[in-house]
Symmetry: C2
Subunit: 242 residues, 2 copies
């Protein structure tokens, strides 16, 4: 059963503050809509030891780990190599992916630097996730009962791969549990005042409350989790009490 | 010596994809400029066990841990409580902070919900980091030889606290080592082609290369680390070879 996810974001451009990690938030939003709880987002630079650390811990925290970045052709793209080592399996070339990379270069009449074929190397046992908009295919691979999903870091490649392949596959694994949420907007109350008002109204096992303040408005989000009918009824019941 | 930092971002709004974490990137950028290497960014929701997990691991990875979020007045603000438990010390009220919170409410002629005083509770031994723009003060506290810095998640409060208090303090602890970088812009080369061209030119102990592709341009960033004079000379020497 897929209940918990970890998101792994890799790249020196993230840990040196050159770019903002918008991938993780986008992925977390999509997983939340599927009812999958993101237990952690782990972000590390392009160092083998830090990547290995992140993968090992991500596997402990989740039923599925979704990684972005580090699968391009250059020397600082280390994800597949490190993941294979963590999994204890060899890297093998996916012949169809290698052929597609060759064809892409041929189609643009460009000579292919040999290191591009590195992008066709995947941990043994991987299932390809097609990348329609770039040379680096993604893949998923099992580690015990935990799934690893490896995607490129470029958002315009990663997002369609999620939408077209990863999310439908997760939806299939997940069955029909959902998270439902409802936002209540308040005005003129402080966050702390609102918290005092609703204290004790919601049993933590039945639903979770989150506050977000942008004075003079404070929004209160109620989230419940379960099978669609039952969760819907619970959302209504708690909402009526708030 | 402060060489490695971990950034800890907390809040369900991050792990459910409601907002993008811009704090971590901003903090990483400022630390990079000080020559501090961000080994990981750890992001978790408002759960005591996940926060404790993140703090324990952040302490293992770094000489200073910078945390944002989770220090407001509401029930889902758990950072100080969890950190005190990880440190093995009690939470104590900072009298000056409690008084300031009371005064802020009085100044706005608002009744203060009692849970606001929670924001004046800090792990024993903490040193206050003033927050000129909000009710929640930040603080720093030692865990063995590792420093924990706790800041609010609201960017307009967090950023001046970093600029006015945390960064000057870190600069003092850090001494005068710096990171220097230079960006080379290329045109018409692929990222992989560029990687092949520069392979072997830079000894990893002397400098690091990072690529960033936005076809048809690929930028190459060279970063060196050390005392200002020596690092500057090394940057020039490697640049001349590239």
């Amino acid at each position: 059963m897929i209940e918990r996810a970890a998101v792994l974001s890799t790249g020196d451009e993230l840990t040196t503050g050159r770019i903002v990690d918008t991938n993780s938030s986008w992925i977390a939003d999509r997983l939340f809509a599927l009812g999958i709880d993101v237990t952690a987002v782990l972000t590390v630079g392009d160092y083998p030891d830090r990547l290995a650390w992140a993968w090992k811990h991500a596997f402990e925290l989740a039923d599925v780990v979704i990684s972005t970045g580090g699968i391009g052709p250059t020397a600082d793209d280390l994800t597949s190599e490190v993941l294979a080592r963590v999994l204890g399996v060899p890297l093998v070339e996916d012949a169809a992916s290698a052929e597609r990379i060759r064809q892409l270069f041929a189609a643009f009449s460009r000579e292919m630097p040999l290191n591009n074929l590195k992008q066709a190397l995947m941990p043994a046992g991987a299932v390809v996730i097609p990348n329609g908009l770039g040379t680096a295919p993604g893949y998923r691979v099992l580690h015990g009962a935990t799934h690893a999903v490896v995607l490129p870091g470029v958002p315009r490649e990663m997002k369609p791969m999620m939408e077209e392949t990863v999310l439908p596959w997760l939806r299939g694994l997940r069955g029909d549990e959902v998270y439902l949420s409802r936002v209540f907007q308040t005005f003129g109350l402080t966050e702390s005042g609102l918290d005092e008002l609703v204290a004790g109204v919601v049993d933590p096992a039945a639903g979770r409350l989150a506050f977000r303040a942008s004075f003079p408005e404070v929004s209160l989000r109620l989230v419940v989790h379960g099978r669609p009918d039952e969760a819907g009824a619970r959302l209504e019941a708690i909402s009526a009490r708030l």
